[in-house]
């Protein structure tokens, strides 16, 4: 299965490199939203819960763009039929799509976090960066797991662009709550290890639960 997943992932990354559809759109959206907040709030610096909320809501909305495009190429060019006709474990498709989304989100954040610091963050981000990276990676796993599942589900409908946000956003609410709650004290500079451990634990639990759910149901999702 891993070999098949690697084959599909390699194909997806090759197509993304050539079309430049998902990652540039997600990145441009994120930077634009930060600029809008910068001027809309008329503030050079945000702190605490507001900073944390703006960061995570923006990243989640950017993830919606990536999730919407994740299965689009399979739907538009018959890729799913090609996969269903091959004697492979179909879960490999979910693994590949989740891995692709995880990579897209990580690349997005490489640009988004410096942009956030530039446009909206007053205090120096560097002290909070190691823990923030940990939170981002944990959130990315959950987003990738549920995002690949939602994208596959939406691809079977007539209006995937409409279905993705309607399904995805409520399902990723625990990610938003955990990540934003853990980030808020971090950006204030008074993060306690117990507090961080609690929210990271919740995020990790969410990741494990949704990875297991996705692995269990993905095969049935593709079945006619």
């Amino acid at each position: 299965m891993i070999r098949t997943a690697r084959t599909i992932l390699r194909k997806d990354l090759a197509i993304e490199l050539r079309t430049k559809e998902s990652v540039p759109a997600m990145t441009l959206f994120t930077v634009t939203v930060f600029v809008l907040f910068h001027f809309g709030l008329d503030r050079d610096a945000l702190e605490g819960d507001l900073a944390s909320g703006v960061l995570w809501v923006t990243l989640l909305l950017a993830a919606v763009i990536g999730v919407s495009r994740l299965f689009a190429i399979e739907r538009e060019q018959g890729g799913i039929d090609g996969l269903l006709l091959a004697p492979v474990d179909r879960t490999a498709l979910w693994v590949a799509k989740a891995a692709a989304l995880f990579l897209y989100l990580t690349i997005l954040e490489l640009v988004a976090i410096p942009a956030f610091a530039l446009f909206l963050l007053g205090p120096d981000l560097l002290p909070a960066l190691p823990v923030l990276i940990l939170l981002l990676l944990a959130a990315n796993i959950g987003l990738a797991a549920i995002g690949a599942l939602v994208s596959a589900l939406a691809a079977e409908t007539r209006a995937p662009g409409l279905i993705v946000p309607l399904l995805l956003l409520p399902l990723v609410m625990p990610v938003l709550i955990s990540a934003a709650s853990a980030t808020e004290p971090l950006l204030r500079g008074d993060q306690s290890p117990e507090d961080l451990g609690r929210w990271l634990g919740l995020l990790s639990l969410y990741d494990v639960v949704f990875v297991l759910i996705a692995v269990a149901v993905f095969d049935f999702l593709l079945d006619d």
């Binding site: 098949t4 090759a14 039929d81 269903l84 091959a86 004697p87 006619d224």
Partner: protein, 286 residues
Amino acid sequence: MSDERTGDDVSAAAEGDDRNERAGGDAGRVGTSRGAGAAIELDGVERRYGERVALSGVTVRLEAGQTLAVLGSNGAGKTTLLRVLATLLRPHAGVARVLGHELPDEAWKVRGGIGYLGHDPLLYRELTGRENLVYHARLHGLMDGLRSPDEGLASPGAHNRASSLDGGLARVEERLKAVGMARRADDPVRDLSKGMVQRLAVARATLHDPALLLLDEPRANLDPAAAEALEPLIGRASGKTRVLVTHDVEGGLAEADVALGLRGGKQAFCRPAGEVDAATARGLYS
């Protein structure tokens, strides 16, 4: 007996040398010695889309190495039948056995043995022809030692990985040459003409040397020279069991052993192709 009957009134099957012998008996089956050897056995297969019945009461038996021509007007259920046989759609009623395995329960056993050439070429437009074929070769295990390109399924580890990779790549190159696309193999599919894309689709569908070819208008967009060049892969000369959906009534009947006529999702006739006259078959389109 009239040449056209509907649904359950007529279902016929043919086998081997009996193709030109019309057998009597109920349901009009031809030479129906039910048992091993049949590549396709359908008995009262039905498929619905919601409330709409797309396929109903289809009963066919096709022996290994034979060709079934599926005729019928647009919306008659031809593509639905092909997708049921390809395991892409579940039959909602009836019994469907393909390559000796019952669908949908054993669909996973059948997939490696099917070459499907449908309306969509199943090729990624942003990838080159060669990249698309390598991708499909990998999906079919032609490059990882699980399956030898020339020997069908082999036990894991039977081939060392490097030689399997070489074998898989050699198969891709051989298919590119066979369909006349070696020179344009590094062009993105989006830059190719429809005929060239169809050639690549033929290469993709036959890459893993499937036992059963499911062909939906396989010569669409092909010039006569290309159609002739692809004969060894998808024509009678391939020696494969074939299900051929076509609107070319005369051509379809000429290369088929069994002809299945569909009208409005129902079986209008199924009998040895030699016993179906073209005028009757053309009646399906009126």
